[in-house]
């Protein structure tokens, strides 16, 4: 206290000077239009910046929520696209009676991958949706850039799926350019590549050809982009090509996935 008092006395002239300067500045800002507008402008700029920072912080808290709602919307959009594409395919022959069940057989549910593996012989991943969300075994799981796997076991809250990087996974896939189809399997070790088997030798394949789902298995809608042809060869004496496919989706970084349900299953198999 004594020190403070001494400080005030010692610098009293300077403090008085500061005080009066502040008063003068207040007067300047208060009574002069020009300075007032500049002050108001810069202070509103400052306040705006402050609000922006605070808003950003709050937004960050809401990111998860926002991402969830966006994923939900995305699922709805995917559902619409699959159904529209399918209706288009059905419409081209246009000689069959149309049924809404056939028209809109696909349901899409969004989910989050909560556990994943890529380095085992048979890889699985777990999603945060279960039977209460309508997940059933055998449904296809697609992701942002391709396909991810097939639902295997379903609990109430969670479900596990066999990854495409699993020796049990066989996915019907075709070359987009000429519709030759085969089954896509994983030959272990390399999580970036799969092998498309049983493409007949007469098929013309080019390096870089697009591989898509064939739509024959009903686990996946037709035409989902899987990857591109990296190289192809024939095993000795075989009549079939073996095609190495570079996966577009990086399974190691799987995060948001969409589960496709094909409700027209019974009808389609008839």
């Amino acid at each position: 206290m004594n020190n403070l008092l001494q400080f005030v006395i010692r610098y009293s002239a300077f403090l008085l000077f500061l005080l009066l300067e502040v008063v003068a500045l207040l007067l300047v800002v208060r009574y002069n239009e020009n300075q007032q507008s500049i002050f108001a402008h810069s202070s509103s700029k400052f306040v705006g910046k402050l609000y922006k920072v605070a808003d950003d912080a709050i937004q960050y808290n809401h990111l998860q929520q926002t991402a969830d709602s966006l994923a939900g919307q995305n699922a709805q959009l995917k559902e619409k696209i699959f159904n529209l594409e399918r209706s288009l395919q059905r419409l081209i022959p246009a000689d069959k009676p149309l049924d809404s069940c056939i028209l809109e057989p696909f349901k899409v549910i969004d989910a989050q991958v909560i556990s994943n593996s890529i380095n085992q012989r048979n890889n699985h991943f777990t999603i945060d949706r279960g039977s209460k969300d309508g997940i059933k075994p055998g449904m296809g799981v697609i992701s942002m850039h391709g396909i991810a796997g097939i639902i295997d076991e379903v609990g109430e809250q969670y479900a596990t799926a066999i990854s495409v990087l699993n020796s049990a996974a066989r996915i019907s896939a075709s070359i987009k350019r000429n519709d030759y189809f085969g089954s896509l399997v994983w030959k272990e070790v390399d999580p970036g590549h799969m092998v498309l088997e049983a493409i007949p030798r007469q098929a013309d394949i080019l390096i870089g050809d697009t591989i898509v789902t064939s739509g024959f298995s009903f686990k996946f809608p037709k035409g989902i982009f899987i990857g591109t042809v990296e190289r192809f060869w024939t095993e000795g004496g075989s009549n079939y090509y073996t095609v190495e496919v570079r996966l577009h989706e990086d399974i190691a970084t799987l995060d948001r996935v969409y589960i496709v349900e094909f409700t027209g299953n019974e009808l389609a198999t008839q």
Binding site: L20, A24, L25, V28, V29, I38
Partner: protein, 174 residues
């Protein structure tokens, strides 16, 4: 109230009148001056305050005087800001320019007492601070720093002519 105080007060009033009635009009009448400068003589009131007057009083006088000028110039606070700073700078300048023997009781900040070189240095430094701060606060942003410096320079030269003219013509003793 002794005669010296009375003399200071009367001189201050006269300078104020000179400033707001004459020099302000000179500034207004010429479009060139209006744009690029002004003539200030009123800071001299603060600069001519006796050496022995405490800095607090000088600062207070500067503030009140500045506000008075502001009322005439319709620039509330701008002159007050500049003149308060000048009054504070006066203390620093006096310490900086203190002669070897220190200030004597008989001394006053005039040519008669301190010589023309001392007065020239003292006045020009103080006026430089005053005009620069005046134009800075007037524009209220450093964006136009070039214009501020130009105005400061022109006003400083014009004001110095008037102030030194006063010193040389009237040669005040106190």
């Amino acid at each position: 109230m002794n005669t010296i105080s009375l003399r200071h007060i009367i001189r201050a009033l006269l300078m104020l009148l000179l400033q707001v009635l004459v020099l302000k009009r000179v500034g207004l009448s010429s479009s060139w001056l209006w744009q690029y400068g002004d003539i200030f003589i009123y800071p001299v009131i603060v600069l001519l305050l006796p050496f022995r007057l405490s800095r607090h009083y000088a600062i207070l006088i500067g503030f009140i005087l500045g506000l008075t000028i502001d009322m005439f110039y319709d620039t509330i606070g701008v002159h007050a800001f500049a003149l308060t700073a000048t009054a504070y700078a006066r203390g620093l300048l006096l310490a900086y320019l203190e002669p070897r023997g220190g200030y004597q009781l008989s001394m006053s900040p005039t040519i008669f007492s301190m010589g023309i070189n001392w007065v020239l240095t003292y006045t020009s430094l103080a006026l430089l601070i005053h005009t620069f701060l005046y134009y800075t606060v007037e524009v209220f942003t450093f964006v136009y720093i070039g214009q501020i410096l130009l105005k400061t320079l022109i006003t400083l030269v014009l004001s110095m002519i008037v102030v030194m003219g006063y010193h040389l013509l009237f040669n005040p003793r106190t």
